[in-house]
Amino acid sequence: MSMQVSSYDLIHEDRQKGIFRVNRQALTSDDVLALERERIFKRCWLYLGHASEVRKPGDFVTRKVMRRPIIFNRDKHGELRAFYNTCPHRGAQVCRERAGSAKSFQCAYHGWTFDNDGGLRGVPGRESYPKDFNANGMYDLPEVQRMESYCDFVFVNFDAGAESLEDYLGGAKDYLQLIALQSKVGMEVISGTQEYHARANWKLLLENSADGYHALTTHATYFDYLKERDGKAAVENNKGKSVFNKPFGQVIDLGNGHTVSESDGAIPWGRPIARFRPGMGEAAREAIEEVRRQLVDRLGEERARIVAEKDFNMLVFPNLAVLNIMAVTVRTFYPLAPDKMDVRAWALGPQDEAATLRDLRMRNFVEFLGPAGFATPDDVEMLELCQEGYQCQPGADWNDLSRGMLTEHEHAAKQDEMQMRNFWRRWRQMLASDDRVSFKIAS
C-alpha cells in the first residue's frame, strides 16, 4: 500500500520497552533522499576542508560538497574563501585542477577571468557590454553563502541564515580542539586522499563510523593480526577474552545530532601522539616518549594524558566523521543515490612531526583504515550487503538499533547503539514538516 508518511513514521521508538527501529525506506527511497537534500544538506554545516590545505595566498583546492563544485582557497589578502566553481556568465567550472596556486581563474569557455578573491578582472569584448557592467559585483565569482572555521576545520553552509558554525558544533568543538592540541604549531592534512564509492546509503557509513558493536565480528581478521603482531596480551585479558567483549568507554550526546564514542586508555593500539605500544617497534619508543614529555610541558599532566590516551570516533551531523584512533582521519560521505555514496578520507598529523613518527603514523593509518586497509573493505562489504538486503521490502522492513536503549540515560557504552539513535532522532526532526513523502510502507 502506498501512503503519505512523515519522517516520524519511519522511526519506531518505544522508550518503555527499549526498542528503536528504523524503517528501511529511509535507506532506499528516492523521496527520502530528495527531502534530505532540501532539509539536511541545504541547512547543515558541511565540512569543506582544512586550513592547512591552502597555506599560502593563492593556494587552492577544488572539491565537491554535496555535488556542488567548490573552490576552497586563500585569496591574495590571506583570507580563506569558498567560491562556487561556476562562471557567472554561462556556468562552466573556472578551475579544473584538483589543487595548486593561482592568482586568478580563467573560464575556458569565453575567457572571463577572476581574481583569487573572486572579483571579475577581465571580460573579452568588454566594449560590447554596458559601461557599468558588474558595478554591483553581480558578475564576480559567486561565493558560497556561508563559510566558517573552527580550529582550522573549515565548513560551508548553503543557507545564508544558518546559525553560526560554533553554535552548530556545540559539544563537538571540544573534540576538534583535542585534535588541534596534538601540535604546538597546528595540524595539517597529509597529502593523499582516499576517495571511493560505496554501493550503499550514506547513512550506513555514518552508523558504521562509530559502531563499537561490529568490531569483533566484522574486524575479526584485524584482531587476529594484532594478536600476531603484538602478542595475545594486547587484545585479550588474562581469561583469553577480547578486550572488546565487555562494554567499555562511553557515548556522549554533543547536541544538534552530533555524538562522540570515546574511551580512555582501553584500546590495544599505540599511536605517535603519544602512546607507545610494543608492536610499534622499540626504535619508536624514545621518540614517542619524548612527544609525551613535550605534551606534558605544554598542556600539563592531565590534559596531556587526555590528548594521548583518549580515543574517539566523533560523528558531526550529518556526514562528517572525525576519528582519533590509531591515526587521525577526517571522513565525509555524500549521497549520489539512495544506494550509492561518495566517500573521501584524509589523514591529519602535526605540522611539526618528525619524519620517523610521520612514517609510523602513515603505517598505522593504512593498516586499519581506508579502502585497502585490514578493516575498511570489510566495513564497506557489510554496508553493501545491508543495502542489498533492503531490497526485501515489503517483507523485511525494519532495522533495529535498540542496543543499550533502556540504560542510555545513565550510561551508554561504545558497543551500544546510542550514537546511531542520536543521529536518527535529529534526522527525524530535521526532515519532519508538513511535506510528506509517498511510498510503500509495511506495518
Binding site: 584538483r98 597529509i190 593523499g192 566484522t218 587476529d224 619524519a355 602513515m362 579502502p371 573493505p377 564497506v380
Partner: protein, 158 residues
C-alpha cells in the same frame, strides 16, 4: 632475453594471485620485500612514509594481508572474488648487477556478486636475481584511476 625471463616471472605471480595461492605469492618477496599502492590523487614519486597511500606493506604486513585474505572472516573476499591479472607493456628500465627495475602496465578484473570492477594501472617492480630466480624487493602498483569510483575498495592484491 632478460625481458622474457621477467615476463615469465610476472605471469607466474599473476597466476598465483588469480588462483588465490596467496601464501605462495608472499614467497616471491625478499625478506625485506614491500608492497605499496599510492592513493589515486598523489603525484608520481610520492612516498608512503610522508603521503597517505592505500597500501604500505612491509614484509610482515604483506604476509598478514595474504593470510587475512584466505580466511572466511575476510568478509570483502568471502567467498573469494574471481580475478584476472593481465600484464603487458613490460619494460626493463634498469639492470644493475642483480638488481633489476621493471615497469609494466596491468589491468586486473574482479568479479564479485553482481559487479565487475576493473583496476587499470602501472606497476614498478624492483627485482633481485637470486640463485633460484627472481625475488621482489618492492612492488608498487599505481592505479590509473581518479578515485576508486566505482570500485570502492582494493580488497584483492593487485
Amino acid at each position: 632475453m632478460l625481458r622474457l625471463e621477467v615476463e615469465d616471472f610476472l605471469y607466474r605471480e599473476a597466476a598465483l594471485l588469480d588462483r588465490w595461492q596467496l601464501m605462495e605469492w608472499t614467497d616471491l618477496f625478499t625478506e625485506d620485500g614491500e608492497y605499496q599502492v599510492p592513493s589515486t590523487d598523489l603525484p608520481p614519486g610520492a612516498e608512503p612514509s610522508s603521503s597517505l597511500f592505500l597500501i604500505y606493506d612491509d614484509r610482515f604486513r604483506l604476509e598478514q594481508r595474504a593470510k587475512r585474505l584466505t580466511k572466511r572472516t575476510a568478509h570483502a573476499e568471502f567467498p573469494p572474488s574471481k580475478t584476472r591479472h593481465t600484464i603487458f607493456n613490460v619494460r626493463v628500465l634498469e639492470e644493475n648487477g642483480d638488481d633489476i627495475t621493471v615497469e609494466c602496465a596491468f589491468v586486473v578484473y574482479r568479479a564479485k556478486r553482481e559487479y565487475l570492477d576493473i583496476y587499470p594501472g602501472m606497476t614498478e617492480y624492483r627485482l633481485v636475481r637470486g640463485e633460484d630466480g627472481f625475488r621482489i624487493r618492492r612492488k608498487r602498483a599505481v592505479l590509473d584511476l581518479d578515485a576508486l569510483r566505482p570500485q570502492g575498495k582494493v580488497s584483492i592484491i593487485l
